[in-house]
């Protein structure tokens, strides 16, 4: 069977769902950040696949995927800094134990 746009979009949807499941179920804050990276990757696959199959000569999707990668890098930098700070204050990175602001 010929691999087309729909195959890439389905793969990206499944990968996004896997990352979504990880965000919902992980207790470790670093694990949640990893799941978010999976979701970012799924979005990037979508963008590059649209670029390849819908507008092959415009490169719009590739430009946007570069921006997404940069934003993901910024997100993971700040996120891990926050995780390290939480670990220093609470001696814990499990998000269900960090409930100081919950009533």
């Amino acid at each position: 069977m010929h691999v087309g746009l729909i195959h890439y979009l389905s793969l990206a949807a499944i990968l996004f769902a896997i990352g979504f499941f990880g965000v919902l179920t992980r207790r470790n804050a670093v694990g949640i950040l990893m799941s978010i990276e999976l979701m970012f990757n799924a979005v990037n696959i979508n963008l590059v696949a649209f670029n390849r199959f819908v507008t092959p000569t415009d490169f719009t999707g590739q430009v946007f995927s570069i921006f997404t990668i940069v934003i993901a890098a910024a997100e993971v930098t700040v996120g891990l800094a926050i995780v390290l700070l939480i670990y220093r204050n609470f001696r814990d990175v499990f998000v269900d134990n960090i409930n100081l602001m919950k009533w």
Binding site: V3, V70, A74
Partner: protein, 165 residues
């Protein structure tokens, strides 16, 4: 990559991506999860090569595999005593999250199957990286500069947040 080998490579790398993705969210040891994340991101880079996006594939390997994965492993090492055996890594929302995820996949795939895509028959030009660089510095120069400022702010912010006062 219109030949038959490209199809087989898509299925091979798609299989690797899905299996390693499931392992990332389900393994007990968070360090093994980080290694599986590296495998997953390498396979995504291979998919970018199949899609004719060579530069994006290189950026994917450099940023995700080179920087993000190493940063994750550093964070795991610095937050010790949380990845041993016997510590529960998943919360009590697993069944409801599984149902939600499966519903999400079903709805998305149903929508994908119903949609008619405006697929072009042309292929990606060979000198894609050159065109990409020109686009980044002409049409998209303002977002390019803004995103570099965002990166700088994130860098300084991470240093300020993680600094010992």
């Amino acid at each position: 990559m219109e030949s038959g080998i490209g199809n087989y490579l898509f299925y091979l790398f798609g299989f690797i991506i899905i299996v390693s993705g499931i392992l990332v969210v389900s393994l007990k040891d968070i360090f093994h999860c980080a290694l599986m994340l590296v495998v997953c991101m390498f396979s995504v880079a291979a998919l970018y090569v199949l899609l004719g996006a060579d530069f994006i594939a290189a950026v994917q390997v450099l940023i995700y595999v080179g920087a993000v994965a190493v940063l994750m492993i550093f964070a795991i090492m610095l937050t010790a005593r949380v990845s041993g055996a016997g510590i529960k890594q998943q919360n009590e929302q697993v069944p409801i999250a599984l149902i939600t995820t499966l519903v999400f996949v079903a709805v998305t795939l149903f929508g994908l199957g119903k949609t008619v895509w405006n697929v072009s028959t042309r292929t990606v030009p060979a000198e894609g990286t050159m065109k990409l660089g020109k686009l980044l510095l002409t049409t998209y120069v303002l977002p390019f500069e803004i995103v570099s400022v965002v990166l700088l702010v994130a860098l300084i912010g991470a240093i300020v947040i993680a600094r010992r006062t």
